[in-house]
Symmetry: C2
Subunit: 245 residues, 2 copies
Amino acid sequence: MIQLDKISAAPPADLKKKDIREETQRLIKRLGELQRVMYAEKKHSVLVVLQGMDGSGKDGAVVNVFEDCAPMGLQVVGFKKPTEEEFAHDFLWRIHKHAPQRGMINIFVRSHYEDILIQRVHKWISEERVEKRMQSINALEELLAYDNHTQVCKFFLHISKEQQQIELQQRIDDPTKYWKHNSGDWRERELWPEYMRCYEDALNRSSIPWTIVPVDERWYRDYIIAKTLVEHLEKLDMKYPPLEK
Amino acid sequence: MIQLDKISAAPPADLKKKDIREETQRLIKRLGELQRVMYAEKKHSVLVVLQGMDGSGKDGAVVNVFEDCAPMGLQVVGFKKPTEEEFAHDFLWRIHKHAPQRGMINIFVRSHYEDILIQRVHKWISEERVEKRMQSINALEELLAYDNHTQVCKFFLHISKEQQQIELQQRIDDPTKYWKHNSGDWRERELWPEYMRCYEDALNRSSIPWTIVPVDERWYRDYIIAKTLVEHLEKLDMKYPPLEK
């Protein structure tokens, strides 16, 4: 049972930042190697889901962790407010469309989980529908896993409320970050306890487990995500295909 | 519990063909009216699934029953052998993509059920995977129903083995039907008992029920499908939207 307020958003105190950074560089390289084999073999695929409050560093994680991956085997999909066409379908329609093809790593920056987070916090949907959607989410993720060899790797980027303030403030102070500023983020921040409650529930009811990533220090975020992905991919026993004669 | 060998593929003996044909014409007109309101209101949608052995008249049903529907509110999707891209995804990927947008009737000629029929009969997939796929199918159909107001109307076109022979033979004898001839159909016919067993299992394990349509007489096929669809749509209490000011 995950309780977010019992989990620190800071890295363990005994870690040396310099050592971890070196190890992270090694992991990022290794991830690139593994991804190239996966792309060539076209047997497995990976779905990376990044969820977290505003300012938790989802975009930064994408930029850093996949640095050494070959771009043609990578697809980043950011889910924002649904388009009119998307909205005229069930909530998983636009998600399923972007499920990774064998050989690919698809990265979701936000995802189907928004439909039981922001929508639940604001009470735009009933609790009964939340319940059903949670079951549908589990069913879809299981389908990808058993029917298409998809590794579903979900990361909750766990930021402290204090650190979020610093991050959001930077978007007002730093001209290169103005474009990220959105006054709506400050309003959502007011609903922090409700978001934590809904996140906790989603994390605990997922049939495919999440990795909780403490992100107050960005070097630790990159380390945990890279390490987790490498561990998943190492297990697959992938090989470059033999020469076809 | 459906047992296909207990169900006749012929119409009830006491029906008068002429009366039924007149009634069918009325139903086809009514379906067109209802579809136009649905298209305007954009609140509900319909997924029609047509399954049945070769020669059971799936295409003919599409041509006749939806005659009076407005084409822009209709989408017919025929599922054949998966493309390379489709095959590199889970079996429901290409299906979910074509789920109807609100306001639409989408008609599947063959469907996701092929993935637990032809694939099961030929033992291309394990019984364990059949089991999981059946669950995934139920989960997807339920999702469409609760999250997008989709009426899922599934029709099993029930033909007798004798009538199938007549239908397949016509494809060899009638020059306007040569294009439908496929020697593979005769080979699949040899597997009739296995197909019936797999169909029965799929029909009995579906959480959204099927309509069994006796199709040895085509006028009765059209009648049952039109009647069932009209009954579904009448229940929705649809209205043309008021003038937006």
